[in-house]
């Protein structure tokens, strides 16, 4: 069997008083917001959107700049690799035994006669 609900007078304590003040402040804030002119609200909204857009654009700009730098560096790397290969090819030609022999002959050198080579064997040589 359910008991009948009986109303009991509430005693106002400091806590209940604080709650009532808060409710009153909220009502006043809502009233202030309702009284605020609409263009100002739009400006605030536009400012926030603009800020976000600015942030986004700055990120995109930074990314674009970095990619451009990367591309330039890659191009430079390709050029340097190409120069490196060219220099290797030149070096290969200059080190080629046929070229060295040709240059040596042009300087008046002649191949040594192996039969005329004298071997000197040194014993007990210390540095």
């Amino acid at each position: 069997m359910r008991r009948p609900i009986t109303r009991v007078p509430v005693r106002r304590t400091p806590a209940t008083r604080r709650a009532s003040w808060l409710q009153r402040d909220a009502r006043r804030a809502r009233a202030r917001f309702a009284r605020q002119p609409r263009p100002l609200m739009l400006l605030e909204f536009a400012a926030v959107v603009g800020l976000l857009a600015l942030l986004y654009l700055s990120q995109v700009a930074a990314l674009t700049s970095t990619r451009q730098t990367l591309l330039q560096e890659q191009t430079r790397q390709t050029t340097l690799r190409r120069q490196d290969a060219d220099l290797h090819a030149q070096l290969g030609h200059l080190q080629s035994p046929a070229y060295v022999e040709q240059r040596a002959r042009a300087l008046g050198m002649v191949p040594a006669n192996p039969a005329s080579v004298v071997w000197i064997t040194l014993h007990d040589v210390s540095r």
């Binding site: 674009t64 990619r67 451009q68 591309l71 050029t79 690799r81 190409r82 120069q83 290969a85 060219d86 290797h88 090819a89 070096l91 290969g92 030609h93 080190q95 080629s96 035994p97 046929a98 022999e101 040594a112 192996p114 039969a115 080579v117 071997w119 064997t121």
Partner: protein, 590 residues
Amino acid sequence: MRQEADQQDHRPATSIAGMARRQALLLGLVVVVMVGLLARTAWWQIAQGAILSRRAAQESVRLLSIPAARGSILDANGVALAVSVTRESVIVDPDLLRATNAMRPAEQALSKALGLPVAALASQMDVSGAYVRLLGADGQPLLLTATESAAAQAAIDAAQAQGGVVLAPVSTREYPDGALAGQTLGFVRQSDGAGQYGVEQMENSALAGTPGELYTRVSQDGQPLALAPLRQTAAIPGANVTLTLDATVQLWAEQGLANAVRNTAADGGEVIVMDPRTGGIIAMASTTSFDPNTYQYASLSSFSNPAISDVYDPGSVMKAVTMAAGIQAGVITPQTTFFDPGYVDVAGVRIYNFDHNGHGEENMTQVLQHSANVGAVFVAQRVGAADFYQTLHAFGFGQTTGSGLPGEVRGLRGGGHGENPELTLAENAFGESIGVTPLQLTQAYAALANGGVLMRPHVVASVTTDGGLGATTTYAPQIAQQVVSPQTAATVTQMLTQSALQSDAHMALLPGYSIAAKTGTSTPYPNDPGWTYASVVGYAPASHPRFVLLVKLDHPRRVIFGGDAAGPLWRALAQQLFLYYRIPPDQSAG
């Protein structure tokens, strides 16, 4: 009066109602249009969105391949034998140059930059058409270096002929030493950049590298947009391959061989120098070689390397292997004697010594000294066919050497089969009726020089990834097998050294050095005994061999015997190698 007032009151009410109806109609119309547009947008965006995105991507997004630079081939001392470089060819659009009145300025500017006469350029450029690839003074397409390209580009800009003259990059393979070791190196096919023949083919996967990928949006003319790479994988340059080949020794071998062929009026020949301790091939020369820089103009037959792909009857140089088989089997010693009447009858066929002379009582070292066919038959018959051919197989005959070079053949081993196995065995004993490659023979002698250990011949010493900047893999020498005991190898070496000292043939001797070598003169055409393969194979110094050297001449006409024809070159090359490797004499001269 009152009626007028009523009418005035009633009119605005009717007008307002009409306006309301019209507004509702307009609103309805707008709503219908908006709903229609929304539905259409939804159709394209949602229903057709994926298809449209795919189509757009197909038109503007491309997967571009970034070519990887091909690695270099270096000799044992790091000298570049093959390098890949980027050159620029000059492409001209005569129609455009004429339309923009830039033909004359372009001709003059290019003439100055390229060092070609204006008339020569005008004859190429003053034609109708939109594509002309300029040729140089030699009639070959111009390929500019980086420096030349910069000068040419400046000239093009100055002449304001940017659209009509374009420098197009072309990757080319260059061989700085020209034809040097052409057959060992092979070449790179221009059409697809694939290595063909030689090391270029053998090590193609390592040399080629891994192409990169650029998945990017492209402009209307197909150029990749710098700001829109969606995915990018960098190309990995090919590996540098270092060979065991020594360009200097290779040059001596090629020059010496060319001289020997000319002096003896031979048809051609081969020279091989190998390190017996490792199996590393130091030089491999042939007279049929070609210049890989201009492989387009070489004959197809010149691409294959006869040192590994042609077989010949080696002749008496095979007697060293026959002696090794006899000593290893324990049926002879260097002191074993027999009577040599100058001929021997085998299966109804009379076999003679090369000079038809009998040497009477002679030991096995003297058999080598006289290069007596009869003595070699005597040994092979004592060894028996089974053991003899087992020894030949162990020495690497009848199979590829494992060098990995493309085009290597197995050779033709007698095997004691056929119509007359007894005769075949006898002929094989002195190197007739058997087909070997020069490399197989060099490998066999290297085994004798290396204490009976057969090494696998190879030309690649190491591979360094990433164009020489990455990790290096060094290929250690590989032992194929122990062919004969170290004692047998030492005994045969001693026999070869002694026989060379007192050789009937004019063996190439060098004062102060012990040389283990054998001459060979094979006559594969019985009806024409003057048509020979003349060769000398040997190693030195015999006390601690540093190199094995084979010299073979095909059909020399002025002198036909191995010692006379191939001996002088063998001696000259050995002398140079002693100096080059700083090998002092191992015996007192005289």
